[in-house]
Subunit: 362 residues, 2 copies
DNA sequence: CGTTCTACGTATATCGTTCTACACAATCTA
DNA sequence: TAGATTGTGTAGAACGATATACGTAGAACG
């Protein structure tokens, strides 16, 4: 009937012709917009199925939404992030939105480039996981697109939402557990501050950890918090320095699991037994914690729930909410072997490497 | 001068007016297209900087390229994939292209949905890592967009490229190493076949492993290849069945590292020592292999190089190559503690749990 | 000096949607 | 019964780039 049939791509026009209605009508059906009768909706849907029509997202982006949400992951090696992503999938299930991911490499300039690229590609909203940008940067981005941040506390921020666990409390939980287990000289190893704005959750955990020790009567110089970049070599060097110092710690808190697993490796490589000589605790309760060879005590921050909430917040923002909302969940300690010293800590002897490094695991 | 200045968004038109040239000229500069003088290029570039202009990707996508390449990752928990991604970043550095990632969840229908979504968003090309679709599906996709697959062998495919290591050879390397270390009853645990088309690299590794054992004189019923879905529970159940069978293996090859680490956990949880009672070998040489607590012998397949090559192939395809190209690299064994039994395997006694499960790691 | 290149620019149709404005009929209200 | 309202549908202008087709000036050539 219609004279034109040069192109082979199925467009909204093809559907309209097939269904015998206008292009605008099809568009309305597509968007579940107001002003279509049930009869028309049905007719159009059938044509779309018959032609297996898929709307062209780039074209939609020119005027309206793309139904794409961007997710910026600060890095890809963190075994905790998959939990969050499961939560995001939960939150997106049943909606038209699809997540596309950008992967930062620990540098805020790379992150910025990715965010720009996503904005240029007309994403409808953005979830940022563990990003390293300052709140001011986030405000700027929020003026272009709705965002929700995970792993960055900004309770006063109005232009964007956030979803987090209570990291200060989490840090405190760790200190309390160490003392309850009989460890006497707890220490923490945390991320170095090379990038101007490093992950601020680590700082929150440090504060909680330190405050709890203070509360238990520790003097300022007995609160030891060392730092190292992630990566086995840096961590090992710092662990070595710590354990060879005059009053070495008998328990170490690694600021996050992926990092604590490197601490675990370093401690054992130096010939110490875990948890007998040194207790080790991580943060996130990521999947590898449960492996027998790690058996790592950790703080569960309910990543999946955080991901779900973040997604809910984002969709609300996209739909028009302008009031900020900041979700916070209370973390919980999951005790495993790495912090369960069997001994009664009577003689307060300094730990030293137990004979040989454990050959079975060498 | 120009009457219109209603909108605030900086478009190609804004730049053109500022630079005093036509819109078409600016577009040419943007695309490094033919027919612009150095003087004009400079002038336009300056205006773009001054206005901090960023081209609108959706609009570009309507007629030309989006300068976005999609990367489909079969899952996000595999610690090997980051290596590949590093390679992709290498390959993309210095180009205008930016990668956006889709994350499958082990199901080919989810993967298909992601691929469609990416195509609808006008990506210029697609790299698929460890995807589970059949070659026929890939042909269909390849007719819409250039693709390169990683972790799927299709040497005869003409419509798309691939980048892989030689998985058959890799499987053989493992068997040879086990025998050289004195292990006498090697076994392999590999992925279950629940999804119709599961990762075909695992099958290649199985073949290499089995062929090598045959070559060493093993009888067919002594070549044991068990299967389990990934996930600690399934793997543990299968490992238990294997180790409690009449002639239990004394060495186990896990088809990939993320999987072998679960095997390691299961074996130790059952009270066996590694490598004394049971040797364990993985595949990929992912970062966690080097941790002291894992100390996992593995096969290095040079993921970063694979990622680099895949990217090169993709860009060539985007630029117009139609002849298929299939890159294959030869893998290499990296021996670590998990496969280094110290004993001389003289008395061929069956392994049994050494006394108690190692309390220190429980 | 006319013709033919070559290099550089411009004008404008086009991509596939969404959105605004409006037409029309049926129903409600005063 | 006139006027307002509601429900349903259409036409056509955007959106911001790219690609095509073409114009112009200067150089090269015979």
């Amino acid at each position: 009937m219609a004279p034109r049939q040069k192109s082979e791509r199925v467009t909204i026009r093809t559907v309209a012709e097939d269904a015998g209605v206008s292009v605008a009508a099809v568009s309305k059906v597509l968007r579940d917009a107001y002003g279509v009768s049930d009869a028309m909706r049905l007719k159009v849907r059938q044509s779309m199925d018959k032609l297996s029509y898929r709307p062209h997202s780039a074209a939609r982006g020119m005027r309206g939404q793309t139904y794409t949400v961007g997710v910026l992951m600060a890095d890809i090696k963190n075994p905790f992030f998959p939990d969050i992503i499961d939560g995001i999938d939960d939150g997106l299930a049943g909606t038209q939105y699809l997540p596309l991911f950008g992967i930062g490499r620990g540098s805020s300039s790379v992150e910025r480039a990715i965010v720009h690229a996503m904005v240029d590609r007309q994403i409808d909203g953005l979830i940022m996981i563990g990003q390293r940008m300052a709140t001011a940067d986030l405000d700027a981005i929020a003026s272009e697109v709705p965002i929700v941040v995970i792993g960055h506390h900004a309770p006063e921020a109005q232009s964007f939402d956030s979803a987090n666990n209570d990291d200060v409390r989490g840090g405190a939980i760790v200190a309390e557990h160490m003392l309850a287990q009989g460890y006497r000289r707890p220490a923490m190893i945390t991320l170095g501050r090379n990038d101007l704005m490093s992950a601020d959750v680590s700082q929150k955990r440090e504060r909680g950890f330190a405050d709890a020790l203070r509360g238990a009567g520790f003097a300022e110089h007995d609160i030891r918090i060392a730092s190292a970049d992630d990566g086995l070599d840096d961590v090992t060097a710092t662990v070595r320095a710590l354990l060879e110092s005059p009053e070495p710690p008998d328990a170490i808190f690694g600021w996050a699991d992926y990092y604590a697993l490197e601490v675990l490796s370093a401690v054992r490589a130096l010939g110490f037994r875990v948890p007998d000589d040194i207790g080790i605790i991580g943060y996130d309760n990521a999947a590898p914690c449960a492996f027998t060879q790690n058996n790592l005590t950790s703080v569960d921050q309910f990543g999946r729930e955080i991901g779900r909430q973040a997604t809910r917040l984002l969709i609300e923002r996209i739909k028009g909410r302008t009031q900020a909302e900041h979700f916070v969940v209370t973390p919980r300690l999951v005790a495993r072997g790495s912090s369960m010293a069997p001994r009664v800590k009577a003689g307060d002897t300094l730990p030293s490497p137990s004979a040989q490094p454990d050959v079975a695991h060498k």
